[in-house]
Each structure stands twice: as structure tokens, then as C-alpha cells.
């Protein structure tokens, strides 16, 4: 049927499509106003003009099934992790477009499942596709989609009712001949210009005999059907259907969009045909199968509202049996079938377990918990306990997860599936939850020890042992962890858990380059990095300690954006923590605090207490290094309010922050003592990387000689660019060695560590000045200025250290002239101001240039800049 009365809307949509600043458009209007028809019209015109058009549909039946709308681009057997799945769908779409611009036409976007909405927002934002969505007025829209709208990157087109002449034209097309003028007016008034209402009114009245044709013209021979309300109108139309037709309509309403083969099994095929002929069903081709949906969502609303719960359950069960008997061909079918059978009397536990796994891999932890819980209620064995505990763990309900596992342990074997292997799997999960979630390393260790005592299976043993090694590492004992992990490597089973511990413990013991080599070796052995978040965390830690964080920023920011788009809060917390720590190292303190604030917020939302402590502690360090006493004090209070956690590895930031805060609030002595004590503790456990930073702090806070002495007695091998450089920096500070500190400044700058570079430069300035080397001192005063501009917010004692007399021992007259010149006066003006000749001014200037090591007035101004305030 022709699209009536929508030329203006189409033209506006064309305008929107040509706006480079927009990534999508929303067609918004009440039910029946013709959004879908307009979308179809726009889609077909776009296709004519060379767009590749892809149509997807949100529906009530699929609103809770992750990625359902994109099911036809997913393979049936995919058990890949979700990121890959999203990427695979995206790649399939790009391939389908084959270089043409892609237009995604989304009908009823307010009914999309969250994961599909997420992907949709991502595709639009990254300009993979232009997105045109229909949305029913007043319905809540999934956040990733409404975001596009709120942020102004998608246009909103309000779809208005039809004008009278449009009603006339549409009626003519529906009835196949002209209408009596009075009838057109009545139809227009009754339908209020709503095309769907109009259609219902005309088709319903024609079948009831109220509309008849006389001499080629349609007239009203009885009152038009139905009441004034659209819902009533639809209901009266449905009331006019046969029993078989209503039953078929109900089946479609609960399952749409649904394959023809399935629906023909559960509903009367003849009834389906007559529904299609009556304009209530649409049949279309979706990928390679024929699919049925209601031709208007309003039918679904009315049908579902009129169904009893029992009836709905019976229909769903029938649908599920039918799909299961065909074999669930698509991955999304598993979730669909499982969700239809959630309240079944005889549930299929295997199906629920599969669905829980699917939902987990789609990051839908709530849905996973529902499936796992259903499975567990009906069959409380070790397998279902594992599924439920995993779902609880992933959604941050650590104590509940442990309670579920404990209950299974008390009950003993309950089902046929309770073999030793399931028991071992559950024990490993229990240890994981205890260690990472609850923070009870003692109990985690007990569980693992007991498992190792009875378990013969080598892979299980290695995983248990690797977990013990990981716990050692996290509680700050990297040397023990390394020994344990290396012993496991010797067994010859190459599992990611072991590689992860090796990477982390090498980095922590001061050998970040060896750690990075180990990571690279694992990846080249296996072709890809392990799907293990800790592996990534430790590799980032190694990059930082090796002094290679400079170019890692962009990768991590992209990773963070990716985590945000996928809604993965665990990952967001950890990536933001790494970005914050890197920003501290780079001397970008306000930026660091932004990242760390985000990390703390995300960690709190996921219940990862240690993650929150680490982020708050690191932010405390950043605040103290920027002299923000008030902010740092508040952060310290927050840190103390978060319950402690034995994962000590990254607690060090908070400890350092505590000391730095003491230093800037008048207790430098106490700060240094606390730090020295901390360094001793760290070195006892071979945390060489952290200890080096802590001793460097001692030097930066005024006791370089003590720090240098401790560092020299370390004795452990260290590698990479950063840790040896920190040693040289501390040595330079201890000896007030200008040239050595200048070299350190240059190398810090090369590594992107602008804050430390500025500290070293200013200390070099000080060193040169003490040695009476005024030119060099002046040169490094300028370098300090430049490096301070590269950093942001750094206000540590070493950059605040200023002494004009040491820097530039100019005579009183020279200072006077230098300041006037630096203010931009000419020699003539200076001469007049000082009552001397211009030649005398120039002579003085030559001496000033020589003493300060500058060659121009501009350089002079820069050289004096740090002193102008205090001068």
C-alpha cells in the first residue's frame, strides 16, 4: 500500500540523513499513527539510493532476551564471550553492507532487549550505521538508545495525525473506490487522523456490513463499528474472529517474531492464513527463514491483556516444546525457549543451565540468576548450585553465593550429576568467591588445600594451586607466588591462571620487562591473550613499572569506552584504576582524580570492596601531591570507612597517600618514618617495585640520603626503564648532583612522566645553583617551567622549591634591569627609568644574559618567570 500523507516527514528524514552531526533519528508518536509505515517508506527510499538497509524489530516476547533483535547475525553454537559476540554481529553487518552506507531501521525500539539496545547505540555512535527507530510516545526507552537522543546526536521527529485529504486518499486505497464526502469527514473525525485507527474502522465496518458500495461510491448504510477508543475498536475486531483465529493470534502475540514452521505447529494453519488475509499478521523473510509477526503491536497489547495467566502458560509451553523438538537452531532460541518455560511445572534443568551460561556471556547477570535459580529450585544438585553461585558472584552477592555453596556441602550428594568433578568445580568457585569477593583468604586457602588433598585430576590440581599462587600475589607476597607458579609450569600444563601469576609476580618483584616477555610468550604460544581479567591487569602493571605506560593510554581509554558500552562495571572499575595510576605517574593529577573517582564508584556498585579501597587510596595520593589538603583529608576519611581487604598488592597507594597527606600538613618527619617502615615491610616480602616507589617518596619528601642508602642495599635484580631511573633520581637528590638530576629529568620526560621530570629538573636547577653554575641553573629553571606546563596540578615539595638568590645571584642593579626588561620594556625605556644611558643598560643586559644563560629577551622573561612572584 502507498504511503499516504507522509511526504513532509520523509523530506525531513532526508534532511536528517544529510546532517553529518547526527547518527540517527527517532520517529515518535502514539500507537497507530503510522510510524512503522513511515519507517518502511524511508527504508525503501534509502535502499533505492544505495543504502544497505537492515530492519530489526523490538517485541514484547523478546524484550528480556539478550541480543534477540540481532539473532539472525549470530551462529547457533556460539559460546564465545560476549564482546566477541557483539563484534561478530558488527562484523557481519559491515560485511553485508559491502561498502555501502548502512541504515538500521528499528521498529519499536522501546521494546528492544538491553543488549541489543547497547549494540545499537554502539553501532550508531561509531558511525557503523545510521539508525532510524520508531518509538511509541510515553514508553520508556532503553538507556543506550535514549542517550543518543538526549545528547543531541539523534533527531526526534514527532509523527502527526493525518490531514483530512490524507484520510480520504487512504480510505480510497483500502476500499478500492471513492467515498461519499460525508463518510470521509466522519472517518476523519472518528479516527482523529490516526492511520491504524482509520484502517481498523474501515476494515471492521466493511466486514460488519456498515460500509457498502453504491454506483461505484462507498457510503455508510449503518453506524460505523466500535467505540471511540482505539483499544475498544481493536477488541471489537478481535471479538469478531473465529475461535481458531483468536487462538492463533494469541500464539503469535506471545512469541512474535516467530518462525512460520514453529507457529504452524501450534496454531491452525488455516486460521493463520485468514489472519494474514485480514491484515492482522505480516509474513516476511528474516535471514533464511520465514517469520510471522503481528501487523500492528496494538493487536498484541489487546490480545495479551485479554489472556488469563494459565492460558498464556499453556501457549508458551506449547511453543517451547515445538522449538525444542526442531532443535534450537539459533543461540537466541535457547534463551527464548528457556524464558517461556520459566514457570513450567516440569522444567528442563539442562535448558536452564545452558540459558544461564548464555545470559552470563551476554552480561545479563540478572537473567542468568533467574535461570540458574529456576534450575536450582527444581534440581538442587552441584551443577545447578555452581550456576547459581556463579550468577550471584557476578552480580556482587558474594555472601549469598557462599551460603548457596555451603548449603550444597551440608546436604551432601543430591543428584546423579554429583560426581567428584562437579564437586571440584564447585570448590574452585567457592575459593574464588571467598578470595575475590568476601576477602577471606584463610577460608579460601582451606578450601583449596582440602581440594588438593583429595583431587587426583592434574588440571584441577593445577588450577587450585594457581589460585593459591594468585592469592599469595594479591596479599603482597610475589616471591612465594612466583615460586609456586614456576613449579607449576615445570609440570608442563600451560594454563592461563599460571601465566597470570607469573606476569604479576615478576612485575611486583621489580622485573617488569621479564613479566612482559612472559606475557608475550604466553600469547604467542596460544595465539591470543587468556580471557582472564587479572592477566590484563598485571600486564598493565608491568607496562607501568617498565616505564612503558606512555603509549598505553589510548589503548586503555578505548578499552574503558568499550567496557562502558558493554555495561561491564567490573572492567570499568579496573581499567579506570589503571588509567588513574598512569595519570599520577604522568603528573596529570586532576585527570588522575577523575579516573580514580570513576573507578571507586564502579567498584562500589559491583561490591568489589578492595577495588574501591585501591581507587580511593590512589586518589588520596593524587590529592596530596597536588597540595589539596581538604580533598585529601576527605579521601582519607573515606578510605578508613571502606572495610579493609587482605588483597594488599595495590593497598600501597593508599599507604603512600596517607604519608603524603601527613607531609603536607606539617608532619614530614612522621611521613618519612611511616614510608620507611612501609618500605621495610614491602621488602620483607620482595615487593621490590612498590618499595622502590615508596623509597623514592622518602627522597622526594626530604630525606634522599636515607632513601638512597636503602635502595643501594636492595640487592635484587631490577629491569626496565623506570625502576633503575628512580634509583638514579634518588642518588642525584642525595648528592645534589646537578648533571645527574638533569639527565634524570630528560629521561623522565622521555617516558612521559612530566611530574617527576619537573621535580628532577627543579632539583637539577638547585644542584647547579649550589655548585655556583648559574648559567646551568638558569637553563634548568626554564626547563622546570616547561615541564611544569606539561604536567598538571603537581605541587610536590621538589617543584615548589625556589630560591631566587641561589638561582640568579644578580647584582641589585642587574635585578632591577632584568625585571624591567622581562616586563617588556625597551632598553631606552629601562635607561630612562634607571637614569642611565641605553648603552649602560645593554652592557648590564649582556652580563645578565651571561649569568642566566639566556640569549633573548623572551628567554629572559621565561627564566625569570618562576622568580617574578617571589622577587
Amino acid at each position: 500500500m502507498e504511503l499516504v500523507g507522509r511526504d513532509d516527514d520523509l523530506a525531513e528524514l532526508g534532511q536528517v540523513l544529510r546532517r553529518p552531526d547526527l547518527v540517527g533519528a527517532f520517529l515518535v508518536g502514539p500507537a497507530g499513527v503510522g510510524k512503522t509505515r513511515l519507517l518502511e517508506g524511508a527504508a525503501s527510499r534509502a535502499a533505492e539510493q544505495g543504502f544497505e538497509v537492515v530492519s530489526i524489530v523490538g517485541s514484547h516476547a523478546s524484550a528480556e532476551l539478550p541480543l534477540w533483535a540481532f539473532a539472525r547475525w549470530m551462529s547457533a553454537s556460539s559460546a564465545e564471550p560476549s564482546t566477541e559476540r557483539l563484534l561478530a554481529v558488527r562484523a557481519a553487518l559491515v560485511e553485508q553492507a559491502g561498502g555501502r552506507p548502512l541504515l538500521l531501521a528499528v521498529d519499536d525500539a522501546h521494546l528492544l532487549d538491553d543488549t541489543s539496545a547497547l549494540l545499537l547505540g554502539q553501532l550508531a555512535r561509531e558511525l557503523v550505521a545510521f539508525v532510524v527507530c520508531t518509538v511509541r510516545s510515553g514508553e520508556p526507552v532503553p538507556d543506550p538508545i535514549s542517550c543518543l537522543w538526549r545528547q543531541g546526536v539523534a533527531a526526534e521527529l514527532v509523527i502527526r495525525p493525518l490531514a483530512r485529504e490524507d484520510v480520504d486518499q487512504m480510505a480510497v486505497e483500502l476500499l478500492g473506490g471513492p467515498l461519499d464526502d460525508g463518510l470521509v469527514h466522519e472517518l476523519w473525525q472518528r479516527s482523529e487522523g490516526n492511520p491504524f485507527f482509520l484502517r481498523e474502522l474501515i476494515l471492521g465496518s466493511r466486514s460488519s456490513g456498515a460500509l457498502t458500495e453504491h454506483d461505484g461510491r462507498w457510503v455508510r448504510s449503518a453506524p460505523l463499528i466500535g467505540s471511540a477508543a482505539l483499544v475498544e475498536l481493536v477488541r471489537s475486531r478481535i471479538d469478531g474472529l473465529s475461535e481458531a483465529e483468536v487462538a492463533a493470534l494469541e500464539c503469535v502475540a506471545l512469541s512474535e517474531p516467530v518462525g512460520v514452521r514453529v507457529i504452524e505447529e501450534v496454531a491452525d494453519p488455516d486460521a493463520l492464513v485468514s489472519l494474514e488475509e485480514g491484515g492482522m499478521l505480516d509474513v516476511y523473510s528474516d535471514g533464511n527463514r520465514l517469520t510471522v509477526r503481528l501487523s500492528h503491536p496494538m493487536y498484541g497489547d489487546v490480545v495479551r491483556a485479554g489472556m488469563s495467566k494459565l492460558r498464556a502458560r499453556r501457549v508458551r509451553r506449547g511453543l517451547a516444546r515445538c522449538i525444542t523438538s526442531f532443535g534450537a537452531r539459533r543461540q537466541a532460541d535457547t534463551l527464548a525457549v528457556a524464558s517461556w518455560r520459566l514457570d513450567d511445572a516440569e522444567p528442563d534443568v539442562d535448558l536452564f543451565l545452558r540459558a544461564a551460561t548464555e545470559a552470563t556471556s551476554c552480561h545479563d547477570v540478572e537473567l542468568a540468576e533467574r535461570f540458574a535459580r529456576s534450575a536450582h529450585v527444581h534440581a538442587p544438585d552441584l551443577r545447578t548450585t555452581h550456576a547459581l553461585a556463579m550468577a550471584l558472584f557476578l552480580s556482587g552477592q558474594h555472601d549469598d553465593a557462599i551460603a548457596v555453596i555451603d548449603e550444597a556441602g551440608r546436604a551432601g550428594p543430591a543428584g546423579p550429576a554429583d560426581d567428584a568433578r562437579s564437586r571440584a568445580r564447585l570448590d574452585l568457585l567457592a575459593a574464588l568467591v571467598l578470595a575475590r569477593g568476601v576477602g577471606d583468604y584463610v577460608r579460601a586457602d582451606e578450601v583449596l588445600t582440602a581440594l588438593l588433598e583429595r583431587e587426583p585430576d592434574p588440571v584441577t590440581r593445577i588450577r587450585a594451586d594457581a589460585m593459591r599462587a594468585a592469592i599469595d600475589l594479591l596479599r603482597g607476597r610475589p616471591a612465594e607466588a612466583l615460586d609456586r607458579a614456576q613449579a607449576l609450569l615445570d609440570v608442563g600444563i600451560d594454563v592461563p591462571d599460571v601465566a597470570t601469576v607469573i606476569v604479576g609476580s615478576l612485575a611486583a618483584t621489580g622485573r617488569p620487562v621479564a613479566a612482559l616477555d612472559a606475557a608475550t610468550a604466553f600469547v604467542s604460544r596460544h595465539g591470543e591473550p587468556p580471557a582472564n581479567q587479572l592477566f590484563d591487569d598485571f600486564r598493565t602493571m608491568a607496562l607501568i613499572e617498565a616505564g612503558r605506560s606512555r603509549d598505553h593510554d589510548t589503548v586503555m581509554v578505548e578499552k574503558w569506552e568499550d567496557a562502558v558500552e558493554r555495561g561491564d562495571r567490573h572492567l570499568q572499575a579496573r581499567v579506570a584504576l589503571a588509567l588513574g595510576v598512569v595519570a599520577i605517574e604522568h603528573g596529570r593529577l586532576p585527570l588522575a582524580r577523575q579516573w580514580l573517582g570513576r573507578s571507586a564508584a564502579m567498584a562500589r556498585l559491583t561490591g568489589e570492596r578492595y577495588g574501591e579501597r585501591w581507587a580511593v587510596g590512589a586518589e588520596l595520593l593524587a590529592a596530596a601531591q597536588s597540595q589539596d589538603v581538604e580533598g585529601a583529608t576527605a579521601l582519607l576519611a573515606r578510605l578508613d570507612a571502606v572495610p579493609g581487604h587482605p588483597a594488599y598488592l595495590f593497598e600501597v597507594y593508599g599507604e603512600r597517600g596517607r604519608a603524603w597527606l601527613a607531609a603536607i600538613t606539617g608532619n614530614p618527619e612522621q611521613a618519612r618514618n611511616d614510608l620507611l617502615e612501609l618500605a621495610d615491610r614491602l621488602l620483607d616480602d620482595h615487593n621490590v617495585a612498590h618499595a622502590t616507589h615508596v623509597l623514592c617518596d622518602v627522597a622526594r619528601l626530604g630525606a634522599p640520603k636515607v632513601a638512597a642508602g636503602r635502595l643501594r642495599s636492595l640487592g635484587s635484580p631490577i629491569d626496565g626503564d623506570l625502576l633503575p631511573l628512580l634509583h638514579e633520581f634518588v642518588d642525584g637528590l642525595a648528592a645534589s648532583d646537578g648533571p645527574g638530576l638533569a639527565r634524570a629529568a630528560e629521561r623522565f620526560e622521555l617516558l612521559g612522566l612530566a611530574g617527576l621530570a619537573a621535580e628532577a629538573a627543579n632539583s637539577a636547577r638547585d644542584g647547579f645553583a649550589r655548585a655556583g653554575l648559574q648559567r646551568e641553573a638558569a637553563q634548568w629553571a626554564r626547563q622546570t617551567q616547561r615541564l611544569m606546563a606539561l604536567s598538571d596540578g603537581v605541587a610536590t615539595p621538589l617543584v615548589l622549591l625556589r630560591d631566587i638568590e641561589l638561582v640568579a645571584p644578580l647584582t641589585r642593579r642587574e635585578r632591577e634591569i632584568a625585571v624591567l626588561v622581562a616586563e617588556g620594556r625597551t632598553s631606552r625605556e629601562v635607561a630612562d627609568a634607571c637614569f642611565v644611558s641605553a648603552r649602560t643598560v645593554d652592557n648590564h643586559l649582556a652580563k645578565i644574559y651571561d649569568k642566566l644563560g639566556v640569549r633573548s629577551r623572551l628567554e629572559l622573561r621565561d627564566a625569570l618567570a618562576p622568580m617574578m612572584v617571589s622577587a
Partner: protein, 118 residues
């Protein structure tokens, strides 16, 4: 992050100037499209191209004209459009623009070309 326009993300004026130079080098030597460009007008073509990219990629709401209409007299075939987009992609890559941004730029340009009046 979100305030940054695609124009900034690609590297702003200098990057676009480089991309346009690279693009015309490729276009002029391509047998499929080369004859469409008058080498004598190269400087003004490039200048126009640069300002068009600036407008298109910084999201200025009103662009000079409907692209397809503006090129109607040239009788451009679909194959030529594909070729130009391919060269644009290559020039962006050669100029060191990250793959993700390159994809975004070609997507915007492709969309603007195809989106004629509905």
C-alpha cells in the same frame, strides 16, 4: 570525549590538509576517476575539499549542497563513488589516522553522498 568532533579526532586542519593532498594524488592517477578532475584547478579543488571536510566532520548543521545534486553534471557512476571512497580510506590510513576514525569518516562521507532528497 563526547565533545570532540570527528574533525578534531582525525587531527584537525593539518591532518585534513594532508589527507586531501594524498587523496588527490590517488584520484588523479586512477583511470576510473582521474579524468573527472582538471589538474589546472587542483588548488581550488583541494581548497574546496578541505572546507567541505571541515564542515562535514565538525558536524556543521548545514552543508553547502546536496552532494549528488552538486555532481549531477559529471554523470558519476556507482563504481566511481566506490573508487573515491576507497581512495579516501587509503589516504586516511596513509596519513596515520587510526582505523576506527578512518571507518567513521568514510561512513559519514558515504552517507552524505547517498542521502539525497527523500
Amino acid at each position: 570525549m563526547s565533545d570532540e568532533t570527528l574533525f578534531d579526532a582525525v587531527g584537525g586542519e593539518p591532518a585534513i590538509a594532508e589527507v586531501v593532498d594524498l587523496l588527490y594524488e590517488r584520484l588523479l592517477t586512477d583511470p576510473v576517476v582521474g579524468h573527472q578532475f582538471d589538474p589546472a584547478r587542483l588548488d581550488s579543488l583541494k581548497a574546496a575539499q578541505r572546507s567541505w571536510f571541515r564542515a562535514a566532520l565538525s558536524g556543521e548543521a548545514s552543508l553547502p549542497a546536496d552532494l549528488a545534486a552538486a555532481h549531477a553534471h559529471l554523470d558519476i557512476t556507482d563504481a566511481q563513488v566506490t573508487a573515491v571512497l576507497g581512495h579516501l580510506d587509503g589516504s586516511l590510513r596513509d596519513a596515520g589516522v587510526p582505523a576506527r576514525r578512518t571507518r567513521a569518516v568514510t561512513a559519514v562521507v558515504g552517507r552524505l553522498w547517498h542521502a539525497r532528497t527523500f
